[in-house]
Subunit: 896 residues, 2 copies
C-alpha cells in the first residue's frame, strides 16, 4: 500500500520531492529536536494521484485518519473538540515555491460549537471569534474560490457601521456577527453552507491545495520556469499555535545574518500579539528582533540558539518564521534565505573563514548575476529627484548627461568633454559612434532585445529603452513627457538602467567599488569587505574553471580593458565596426564601383587603415589569441535607407533639384542591392565569395599587421574567422585565398606566416555538417545570436516588439532566447556541432562569441557540452569568469 | 604486389570501380567473344597511387612491359617497330564519364622511322603521314597541354598556301611537312622535342591521363555532381585499328534501337574511310547504318548480330562504336545508351513485352524528369518563327497569347476568352491572379528561383524569366527588344519555357498527348504506343509505391485536376491565397482595426467566404484527406509597399493633396508593421497567437464547412495544420483554441467534430524538438522550402539573384537547394525530425509539402527516411507517382 502521509518525525530535508520544500524542512527541524508544532505531511504522490483520477486515492482518507489520531493523542485534544478543540493549519508546499498556488488555511477545526470551547479554554471570546472569522474567510476565498472582496467589503461595512477604522477595534460580538455574515456569503455564493464537520473542512482544504497545482498562474509560472507539470504539491497539516493569544504571544520572521548587507548577527522583525498574516499585511509596525530580548528573554535566547544551530546545520544563511504562544516558542518554517548580491559575496567568504564551507562551495553561493549587479553604478537613492518617464531596464547602471538627439552631435559634444545621453526613438548600427560617445542611451521604442538594448548591454552601457510616454522629436531636438514637459537638447537628464527610470537633472551617482577593483584602482586589501570578498571568490573561480574567458573587442582600447578584466584572449573582433564613420565613403565607393579598377582602388585605400586597426589590437593582446572575423553584414547596410532615399529622389524630381541625377544613381544602386530579408541575404562568406578581393584584402591587413608585430618583437596570435559558413566548400574557397595571401605576405615581409583559419558555426546547416566543415576549419566559434535566429526562424530586429511580449505572457518563453541560450533547441545545435566537429578533428578548439557567452545559465551549458572558451563583452568578463568557475565546480548543472 | 594492369580478357562489366566504365565494357565484350582489338587497362588504383605520390608506382612500369609484351606476341608486331609497327590508342575511362578529362591519344608508336614502315606495310604513304600528324597534334595538345590553335593554324596556313580547303586535299608530302611543322611547335612550346621512343610516348600519355583527373573542369564537375575526388581514372591501351585504311574501311556509331523515338530496329551512322574523330568532327556527311549493308554485307550482318547479342546481354538499349579495317569489323566501345524521354518509355515496355525485363525493372528505365518532359507542350519546330529574346527556361512548356503588362488586365482580358502572356519585370504574390489567368509568364528580371519561376513551376505553367534584353515598361504597357523593336500590349507573343526563347506572333503548339491521357481525354488503348507505355508504367509504379502522392491545391478546381492526375489527397491547402483579390480590403480592415469590434467585424465578414472555400475543396476531395494550413504570411504582405507609399505621402504633402491624411494614417500602420526581415518576422503561428481570433475564425470556417459536407452526405476529411511552429507550446496554445471551436461547432451543428491537428516542420528548432512537438501534433508535414531557408540562412527571394550563380560556378551547389533537397544538410533535419517524432508517437503521419515533393531526387530521399506521402502541385502528381514507385522499387537509392 502506498504511503501517502509522513509525520514530521518521519521525514528529513532531503525528501523535498516527496514532502515539498516546506514539509521537508519542518521534518528536519523536528528531527533536530527544535520546537515544531506536531503535524504531518501529505505527499506529492497523493496529489499526483488526485490530479490523475480527479479524486483522492482510496488509501489517503484512512492514512490521514490514522495520522490525525496519532496527532490528537500527542496533543491530548481532538480536532474540533467542543470543549478544547485541536486546531490545525493546512499549507501547500511544492518542491519549488510557486506563485498562484493556494497557500494557507488556518484554524481548521473551528465551528459553531468548538468556537465556544476555544473561547472558554482561552478565556478570550474575542480571540475565538476572530479565529473563526478568519477560518470562514480563508476557507471561502481559497478553498471555495469565492471573491475575496465579498468578505473585505463586509468587514469594511461593519467598521463603518461601528464607526471604527481598525479591525482590532471590533468587539467579540462584532466578530461573532461577522462570522454569521461570512457564513451567509459562503452559502449564497457557493450554494452550500460552511461545513461544520472539522474533518470535512480538513479534507476540502487538502483537495483545494491539490487542485491549486493547476491554477492558471501556477501553470503559467511552471511553463515559464520550465518546472515539470507532473511534480505535484505536498500538503502540510500542522497543529495551530497562536501568536495572537495575548500579550505574552507574538510572531516574527528572522534571518541568521543580515540578508541586505551580509553583516554578521541575526536580523528580523517581531510583532506582539499577532498572527503571521498580520506581519505580512503590515497592519501594525513591527519591532526589530532585538526588542524581543526585552520582552521575553527566555524565548529570545532560545531563538538565537536555534538560529545558530540552523545555520550550522544548513551551512548557510537561513530565514525562519516563528510564533510565541503564551511564552512558548514555536518554529513554523525555515529555509536557506534569499539575500542581496553584496550579502551573498560577504556571507560566502564569512562562512569560509568560519570553517563552515570550503572555497569551492563558496563560489556556488554567489552568481554571475549578483556580480553583475555589483558592477553597475547606482543613483544615490537618498537624494530627491524628479521622475519624468519610465521605460524598460534594458541595460543596468546609472548615467547622467546632456540629452542629445542624434549620434553625430553626441559624438561632437562628448569630444568637448561633456557627458551626454543619446536619446533616440530607436537606434540602428549607424548610431554606434553616438552610443560609444554617450554615457547612456534612452529610446522611446523597442524592448529589451532591441538594437539599443542589445548593443548597450554588450558595451556595459546604461540603457533605458521603450520609454513610450516620451515623444522624441529628432527634428526639433527635444522630447515631450506625458505631462507636457518639454526637454530640449542640452538639458541634463539621469537614467537608471536598473529600474528603467528617467529623471530630470543631475542625480548623483555612486561608482561601483567592484568595477574600480577590476580596473585595478582599488586594492582588495584596503577596499572594504565586499571588494575583498569578490577578490577571493574570483581567485577561487579562476582556479576552478575549465573553460577560458575571452572578450569581444574591436579596438585596442576595448582589448586593454578586457585584459584588465581578466580576459585571456579576444574571441570576436568584428571588422564591420571598422568600416563605419569616415571609412563608410570608401565602402560606398567599393559597392558602387563600375570597373575593377575603381573597386581595387577602394580596396587599396582600405588596406592600410585595416592594417593599423589590427596592429593596435594585436599589440594590446600581445601573447594572447585574437579571433578576427572577416566582414559579416550585408553590403547595403553601408548604403542609405531605400525608403528615405526614394522620398528624397521623388521630391527632388518634383522640384527639379540640381542633384537629382546623383541621388538617382545612388538610388539605383541601393535598389539593386536591396534585399527583402537582409538577414538571409548576401552576407558573410557569401559576400567574400561574390565581392572578389574583399576578404583577401582583410586577410592581407591581418597578416601584414602580424608581420609588423613580429618584427617589433611582439607575439601576435591572430585567428582568422570566416562568418556565415553553411557548407565546407565555402570555407575551402576562402581558405585557399587566405593561404595564398599568407604566402605572398610571408615572401614580402620575410616573416613565416601560417594563419589559423576557422569558422563561425551560426547556421543550422553548419552545425549539422560540422564533421565536414571541421575538415577545413581549425577552430569553431559558435555565433549563437545568428544560430538562434535561424534555428527559431525569427530575427532579433523584428520579432521582439511584435510578439515576444505575447510569448512571455503565454509562457512559451521563460526568457528571450537572445538573452539566455535556448538549450532545448539551439543548444542541441551546439551540442551536435561540437560532437561532430571533434569526431573529425579531435583537438578542435571550440568557443562561443554570441551574446550568450556572458549569460550565466548559458555558460553552464557551454561548459557541459565541452567548449574551450566563452567570449563576451569586456564588461561581462568577470561575470563569465565567475560562472566558468562555478560551472566547473558544480559539475555543470546550475542551481535553481 | 598490387596488380595494376588487367588484360581485356581478365575483366568484366562489373569491375567499373577498378577498370572504369570503358575498360569494364571492353573486357565484357572480349569475354563475350566479340571482335575487340586486343589491349589492356591500367587500373584506377594506379592512378590513385600516382596522384598520391606524384609519380607512377614502381610496379606499374614492369607490369605495363609484361602486358605490352603479351600484346605484341598476340599481334605478332612490336610497338613502334620500324617495319610493321604495332600502334596503340590511350584513352581515359573513369567510373563516371566526366567532362574536362583528357580523352584520347591515337597512333602511339609512330615516329620518324616507324611512319615509313607503316607507309610500306599499308602501301599508303599519305595514310601513314596523316596518322603521324594526328599523333603529334594530339600528343602536343592533350599530353603536353599546348594550345590546340597552334596546330590548327598551321594546318590552315598550309591549306591556304596550297590553295585547298579540305584536309583531304593535302598530299602525303604536305602532311609530311606538317609533321615537321608540328614537331617544331612541340619543341618550341614545350622546350623538348617530340619523343621518338614509343614507350616514352605511351608512358607520358598514361601519366597525362592520370593528371587530367585533377584538371579544373574535372574537379568542378565532380564537385557539382558530388563524385568523390578519390576515385581516380583507369587508362585503356588498345591496339589501333584504322577505319581510314582505304575504301574497304570505315567507322561508325550505332544504337540497338532508335534513341530518339524508341522505335525498334537498329539505328546509326557510318562513314567510309574515316577515323572516329572524323565522325565527331562532322567533316563529311555520314551515311545511315543501313547503307553499310550495300557496302559490306558481311560486316553489316556481323554487326547486327553483335548488336542483338549486346542488347540481350545488357538487357537494354546499347550504343556502340565500331571500325571496319579492310573488311574486318572491330568493336571499340559499348555502353547502355542515352535516349529521349519518349524512347525511354517505349523501350521499357518493349523490353517487358520481349520478356527481357520485368515490370519492376521497367520503371527503373524511365524517370520522373522524362515523364515531366513528355507532359509539356512544345512548339512545332518545323514552322518558321522570329526570335526576339532569350531568357531562362524557368518552367517548361509552350505558351502563346497577347502580351499584357499587369495582372488585373491579364485577368480581365482572359475573362473575355483571350489567351494572354503576363509580362512583368518581376512578379510578386499580388500577381497571382494574373499568373493564374495567363497562359504563360515572361519576366525580364530574376532567375530560376525567382517568384515567377517558382510559382509558375508550381502551377505547371510555362515561364521564361530573366530575359534581360527586354526593357519592360509597365507604364507605357510595352517592352522594347534589344534590336529596338517595340512590342505593345495586345500583340501576340509565344514563349518556350523549355528553351527560354521568346518569339513574335503565334507559333503553333502541339499539345502533349501524355497530359491528354492524364486528363482522361485520351484512351491508352488507342492513343498510340507512347501513351500506352506511360499508362503501363504508371500502373506498375502505383502498385510498387510505398509512399502516397498528394497535391498542393488551394481551390476546388485544382483539387479536381489533382484527383484526375492521381493524387490521393491534398497535402497543402494554402489559405493565404484566399485572402487576396477582393478580400484583401477586409484583411486591411483587420490589420488597421482600432477596436476589438472593428477587428471582429472584419473576421465576421471573412468567415462565410472562408467557409465556402472549404466546402468546395472538401467536396472536390470527398473521401480523401485535405491538409489545410492556417494563415502563414506576414500581415504586411497585405499592405502597400512602404517605399512606394512613403514617396506618395511625401509628394502629397509637398502638394498639399486632399487625401494626404488618409495616406499618412495608412503609412503609419505600414511603418508599425514593417519588418526588416519579414521572412523571420510575425508570421504563421506567431500571427495566430498575436492576432486573437484569426486562427479561430479559420478553424471555425473549416469545421462549419466539414459539418455542412457531412450533412450533405459527404465524407470530408480535413486536417488542420499550424504553420511555423518552433516550440510545442505554440502548437498547444492554438490546438486548445481549435478544440474549443470544434466543441462549439459540434454543438451548433449537431455533427460530432474531432479535428485532426498537426503542424508544419519548417524550422530547425521544430525538427530538433520534434519529440516534444509530436506530443501535441497528430501529423507532421515538412515545409522544406522554409526549412531550406532557415537551415542555410538564406531566403529564396534574396539570394538567388545575388549569389546562386557564383555558387553554381564555384561548384558549391550542384543544384539550387530550393529545387532539389539538400540531403546532406536539410535532409538531416527531416531525418532527425521523422525519427524523433515517431519515437514519441509511433504512428505519426509524415508528409512533405514543399516544392521538393515533386522533385525526383528528393522523392527518393523522402522514401528512404520513411515519409508516408509527398505532396506537390497537381501537374507534378504523375511525376511524383512514378518516382514514388521507382523509389520503392530501387530500395530508395536513385540511379546516377
Amino acid at each position: 500500500m502506498p504511503k501517502y502521509v509522513y509525520d514530521f518525525t518521519e521525514g528529513n530535508k532531503d525528501m523535498k520531492d516527496l514532502l515539498g520544500g516546506k514539509g521537508a524542512n519542518l521534518a528536519e527541524m523536528t528531527r533536530m529536536g527544535l520546537p515544531v508544532p506536531p503535524g504531518f505531511t501529505i505527499t506529492t504522490e497523493a496529489c499526483k494521484a488526485y490530479l490523475a483520477n480527479g479524486s483522492s486515492p482510496d488509501e489517503l482518507s484512512q492514512q490521514v485518519s490514522d495520522y490525525l489520531a496519532a496527532l490528537e493523542k500527542v496533543m491530548g485534544r481532538t480536532l474540533g473538540d467542543h470543549d478544547d478543540p485541536l486546531l490545525v493549519s493546512v499549507r501547500s508546499g511544492a518542491k519549488f515555491s510557486m506563485p498562484g498556488m493556494m497557500e494557507t488555511v488556518l484554524n481548521i477545526g473551528l465551528n459553531d460549537v468548538s468556537v465556544e470551547g476555544l473561547a472558554k479554554v482561552s478565556g478570550n471570546e474575542r480571540f475565538a471569534q476572530d479565529s473563526y472569522r478568519r477560518l470562514v474567510q480563508m476557507f471561502g476565498k481559497t478553498v471555495l474560490g469565492l471573491e475575496g472582496d465579498l468578505f473585505e467589503h463586509a468587514i469594511d461595512d461593519l467598521k463603518k457601521d461601528r464607526g471604527v477604522t481598525q479591525d482590532t477595534d471590533l468587539t467579540a460580538e462584532d466578530l461573532a456577527g461577522l462570522v454569521a455574515t461570512f457564513k451567509g456569503i459562503v452559502k449564497t455564493e457557493s450554494g452550500a453552507p460552511f461545513p461544520q464537520d472539522p474533518r470535512i473542512q480538513l479534507d476540502m482544504a487538502v483537495e483545494a491545495v491539490f487542485r491549486s497545482w493547476n491554477a492558471d498562474r501556477a501553470i503559467l509560472y511552471r511553463r515559464q520556469e520550465r518546472i515539470p507539470a507532473d511534480l505535484g504539491t505536498a500538503v502540510n497539516i500542522c497543529t495551530m499555535v497562536f501568536g495572537n493569544y495575548g500579550e505574552n504571544s507574538g510572531t516574527g520572521v528572522a534571518f541568521t545574518r543580515d540578508p541586505a548587507t551580509g553583516a554578521k548577527g541575526v536580523y528580523g522583525d517581531y510583532l506582539e500579539n499577532a498572527q503571521g498574516e498580520d506581519v505580512v499585511a503590515g497592519i501594525r509596525n513591527t519591532l526589530s528582533l532585538a526588542a524581543l530580548e526585552g520582552i521575553d528573554k527566555a524565548s529570545y535566547d532560545q531563538l538565537l540558539d536555534i538560529m545558530r544551530r540552523l545555520e550550522e546545520h544548513y551551512q548557510d544563511l537561513c530565514d525562519i518564521e516563528f510564533t510565541i504562544e503564551r511564552g512558548k516558542l514555536w518554529m513554523l518554517q525555515t529555509r536557506v534565505g534569499k539575500r542581496t548580491a553584496q550579502a551573498a559575496f560577504r556571507i560566502a567568504t564569512q562562512l569560509v573563514d568560519e570553517g563552515v564551507i570550503t572555497d569551492d562551495e563558496a563560489i556556488q553561493r554567489v552568481s554571475g548575476d549578483q556580480l553583475a549587479q555589483l558592477m553597475f553604478p547606482r543613483f544615490d537613492s537618498s537624494v530627491p529627484r524628479t521622475l519624468v518617464a519610465k521605460g524598460m531596464n534594458a541595460s543596468p547602471g546609472a548615467a547622467v548627461g546632456k540629452a542629445v538627439f542624434d549620434s553625430d552631435s553626441a559624438e561632437a559634444l562628448a569630444r568637448t568633454g561633456e557627458k551626454v545621453i543619446l536619446v533616440r526613438r530607436e537606434t540602428n548600427p549607424d548610431d554606434l559612434h553616438g552610443m560609444i560617445a554617450a554615457q547612456g542611451i534612452l529610446t522611446s521604442r523597442g524592448g529589451k532585445t532591441s538594437h539599443a538594448a542589445v548593443v548597450a548591454r554588450g558595451m556595459g552601457k546604461t540603457c533605458v529603452c521603450g520609454a513610450d510616454s516620451l515623444l522624441v522629436d529628432t527634428k526639433l531636438r527635444q522630447m515631450t513627457c506625458s505631462d507636457g514637459r518639454v526637454i530640449k537638447e542640452g538639458e541634463v537628464i539621469s537614467i537608471d538602467g536598473t529600474s528603467g527610470e528617467v529623471f530630470l537633472g543631475d542625480v548623483p551617482v555612486a561608482p561601483s567599488p567592484v568595477v574600480q577593483y577590476f580596473e585595478g584602482n582599488l586594492d582588495p586589501a584596503t577596499g572594504g569587505e565586499l571588494v575583498a570578498a569578490v577578490d577571493r571568490v574570483m581567485a577561487v573561480a579562476d582556479r576552478a574553471a575549465r573553460m577560458k574567458v575571452r572578450a569581444n573587442a574591436d579596438n585596442g582600447e576595448d582589448c586593454a580593458r578586457a585584459r584588465r578584466f581578466g580576459a585571456v584572449g579576444v574571441g570576436l573582433c568584428r571588422t564591420e565596426h571598422m568600416f563605419l564613420g569616415d571609412r563608410r565613403a570608401m565602402v560606398e565607393r567599393l559597392i558602387l564601383a563600375d570597373t575593377d579598377e575603381e573597386k581595387q582602388g577602394a580596396l587599396d585605400a582600405l588596406l592600410p587603415m585595416q592594417r593599423q586597426d589590427f596592429v593596435e589590437i594585436l599589440e594590446a593582446m600581445d601573447g594572447l589569441p585574437v579571433t578576427i572575423r572577416l566582414l559579416d553584414p550585408p553590403l547595403h547596410e553601408f548604403l542609405p535607407d531605400i525608403t528615405e532615399l526614394s522620398v528624397k529622389v521623388a521630391l527632388a524630381e518634383s522640384r527639379n533639384d540640381d542633384d537629382r541625377a546623383d541621388n538617382l544613381r545612388l538610388l539605383e544602386a541601393v535598389r539593386r542591392l536591396h534585399e527583402a530579408n537582409p538577414m538571409l541575404g548576401l552576407r558573410g562568406v557569401r559576400l567574400g565569395l561574390v565581392i572578389g578581393g574583399l576578404f583577401a584584402m582583410q586577410a592581407r591587413a591581418i597578416l601584414e599587421a602580424t608581420a609588423e608585430r613580429v618584427k617589433a618583437g611582439g607575439d601576435p596570435r591572430p585567428e582568422i574567422m570566416v562568418p556565415l559558413v553553411g557548407a565546407v566548400q565555402e570555407l575551402e574557397s576562402i581558405k585557399e585565398e587566405i593561404v595564398h595571401v599568407a604566402k605572398e605576405v610571408s615572401v614580402a615581409t620575410g616573416v613565416d606566416l601560417q594563419p589559423m583559419v576557422g569558422t563561425m558555426i551560426e547556421l543550422p546547416r553548419a552545425a549539422l555538417t560540422a564533421d565536414l566543415i571541421a575538415e577545413a576549419a581549425e577552430f569553431f566559434s559558435f555565433g549563437t545570436n545568428d544560430l538562434t535566429q535561424t534555428t527559431w526562424g525569427f530575427s532579433r530586429d523584428d520579432v521582439e516588439a511584435a510578439f515576444f511580449s505575447h510569448y512571455l505572457e503565454k509562457g512559451i518563453f521563460k526568457d528571450s532566447p537572445f538573452e539566455s541560450l535556448d538549450t532545448e533547441g539551439v543548444g542541441q545545435m551546439v551540442k551536435i556541432a561540437a560532437a561532430k566537429g571533434r569526431r573529425t578533428r579531435p583537438g578542435l578548439k571550440l568557443g562561443v562569441c554570441g551574446e550568450h557567452g556572458g549569460d550565466p545559465a548559458s555558460i553552464h551549458f557551454f561548459n557541459e557540452v565541452g567548449l574551450d572558451y566563452v567570449s563576451c563583452s569586456p564588461f561581462r568578463v568577470p561575470v563569465a569568469r565567475l560562472e566558468a568557475g562555478r560551472s566547473a565546480g558544480s559539475g555543470g548543472s546550475d542551481t535553481r
